[in-house]
Amino acid sequence: MIFAVLIPLLFACFVPIISKIKHKVHTGFFVFVIPFMIFLYFIRFVGTGFSPIRDTYNWIPSLGINFDFYLDGLSLLFVLLISGIGTLVVLYSVYYLDTSERLGQFYVYLLMFMTAMLGVVLSDNVFVLYVFWELTSISSFLLIGYWHFNERSRYGALKSMLITIFGGLSMFAGFILLTVITGTTSIQGMIEQKDIILDSTYLPLALGFILLGAFTKSAQFPFHIWLPDAMEAPTPVSAYLHSATMVKAGLFLVARFSPVFSGYEWFFIVVSSFGIVTLCWGSYMAVRQTDLKAILAFSTISQLGMIMAMLGFGTKVAVFAAVFHILNHATFKGSLFMVAGIIDHETGTRDIRKLGGLISFMPITATLALLGTFSMAGVPLPFLNGFYSKELFFESTLNLNEGMNGVTNFLVQIVPYLAVFGSIFTFVYSVYFFFGVFTGKKNLDKLPKKPHEAPVGMLLSPIVLVLGVITIGLFPNLVNGSFLAHAAQSVNHAFEYKNIQFWHGFTTPLLMSLIVVGIGVILYLTRTKWDAVYRLLPGNWSFNKVYNVILQTIDTYSNKVTNAYMNGSVRTYMAIILGTTFIVTLVFLLVTDGVTINYDNLADITILEISVVLIITIAALGTIFSNNKLAAILILGVVGYGVAILFVIYRAPDLALTQLVIETVTVALFLLCFYHLPQLRKRTESIRTKSINASVAIGFGALMSLIAISAHSSNWFDTISDYFLETALSIGGGTNVVNVILVDMRGLDTLFEITVLGIAALAIYSLIKLKKNEEAD
């Protein structure tokens, strides 16, 4: 199985070479073979006797991350969709994309996506699933941005990436949480331990994280906003990724985890309500669109919402209807996207206001569109598959289980009404799509191109899909027992096979369908009168705005915030660093009870020392108040010499000597360097700045003194120096212990201390020599 998953990716490596060598033949013909082979490989599993297959390859076993492929009914459904629709889409793209485009890149992305999507639906390992999941986001990003010279494409690509990767990361957190709870990385393993998960306090969090991933990917309200903008991708991509496969990854995820969460009431509440709201909002928004692909995008959103809602219901009927509709939606929506692509290709526009009366020019396309739209609308005709799943959907809304929670019961009450409400709009835009384009006035002068029927090759793929619509419509049980039932069973383990029938007698679901058709027709006829409603809702409140505002806010505020403190002033930097260090350390010092003062065993105080200390203190303060640069430098020298005297008093002759020499040289250097610089000016800061400076300085100094006093008051151990005193002569061979330490015991320090000095000298030399920046880099 791993081969089947990875073969598109492997083949993708050769695509650039093929597209370079074979200029005359469309690269698509070579690519076509790949999904077709995968389809053939998997179609053999279809059958009533199917049972799940598992196939494991190690990747990072020490982290529990392995290619653990698990083919059950649900994955089989998706795998066939991915490879089947994939085959048709590649075929279609051969005619859609001209050889002058960068075909190599296009097919590399498409194949990359195929691998990713197959990986998502086949992985039993949550982390591998996540790896493939992000790969779908990345390839989708690249495909949307395929025509990246378009501003809209770039916008759409970024938007889809940010939203789906955001969801992906959240899902990742959810997976880690589940792994931490159950100790396994296998989804099937988690299902076995569902009791532990349901008992865990992290259940809501894990559920929330995972659903966020699913909702963003499957364009659920309010994360649906990326999907309409994703329509900037070439139409084959929209048909494939943004209608048939990738957007269903979220549904797949929810279906996959249904067995884990299905006993949890909030799972029902959240998933069904998001689903049903998305259904209504999507179909409502679709009606007002004028771009054919935008209509289809919102329609996809709404259909995804419907399936999501059914997965949320989780009853046997609902789950079956969901998997059934996943298949049906792929067929009719795939064909409709291709139809939209054909219209765009042959007339040069997708604006429904400019189109009309095309039926006489493109009779085949019109037929395909008719079947596709009517199936989507759920028109009760026995050869349209859309009707079956739509009716099952209505049926499922009527048989929801009451729960313990008030919210649940409320939902159970209103869901049937919302379902009808959303479906009415579905009917309206479906009808509008067909009649608006193919009937009515011909506006040939408004069209950029003179319309004519598409080439056979381009029609081939939508014809196959529409044939699928009709075949499933006529013989629904053909797909039922052989694999839909298996799929439903892997979502709801209690599911049992049942025959699908067209005529159930005059039932409530049928009544609902009829209401939809009835009101739908009225609304369609009067649709121009409804503009006022749209101005009211969403009006200015679209979630697109929210997204744009968020990005803008990030841009402007990040700039403002950063510039507010990163102002380039070294004083600000130092003040913040010192202030933080001071406050935090002080807090820690107090909290841990660190202040200790021990008056025992201190050296005695002599007048000599006190006077030196006073001199140093006065000199140090003098540097602050002096306004003469020469004086300030000399006063600094006084401090240095004072310290040297202290070294003498405290029996450090070597130190005193070094200090004297170095101090002298330093003062000389100071004078040398600052001879040319301006005189010290009076400090002109405000009182506020001054007091901040002063309090930071005093606070910090006091803190250091306090810690120093506490440190030598907590003298709990002998120092290692005793060893040095003992061995300096015997091992080190010298009587001056400090010197022995420097050159022997800590010789490494001294070696690198000299290195530092050497580097400093070299740096100064090159600083002086290399004066001007004589290059552009």
Binding site: V639, Y650, C673, F674, A697, H712, V756, I768
Partner: protein, 112 residues
């Protein structure tokens, strides 16, 4: 006496910090000088003051001051010297090149 020297070192640190927070380059560099003096005094204090003779071994003396802090200070003094000389030249070059010795005028702006 250790306490007094600790406080003195604290004062040196405080004055150093205060100078560091000024605008003029010279003051800032003077500040760093004060800071290193403070640090050295701290190291010295940590080795206990005046506990015996200078650590130059002689017969019949058993009590010496702690030699290790002295060794550390020596290393530190030399390193400070290196850094101070570098910063002096750097300050000189910066002030010359940018025509100002006021750090507040050396903020720079965004997007360079």
């Amino acid at each position: 006496m250790e306490i007094i020297i600790s406080i003195l070192a604290g004062i040196l640190i405080a004055t150093g910090v205060y100078n560091l927070l000024q605008k003029q380059l010279l003051r800032i560099v003077i500040g760093t000088g004060l800071l290193s003096h403070g640090a050295h005094l701290f190291i010295l204090t940590m080795g206990k003051l005046k506990r015996g003779q200078p650590p130059v071994l002689e017969d019949n003396i058993t009590n010496y001051t702690d030699p290790l802090p002295q060794a550390l200070i020596l290393t530190s003094i030399v390193i400070s010297f290196g850094v101070t000389s570098l910063i002096l030249v750097l300050a000189y070059r910066t002030a010359n090149e940018n025509k100002t010795d006021n750090m507040e005028q050396l903020r720079g702006n965004e997007n360079e």
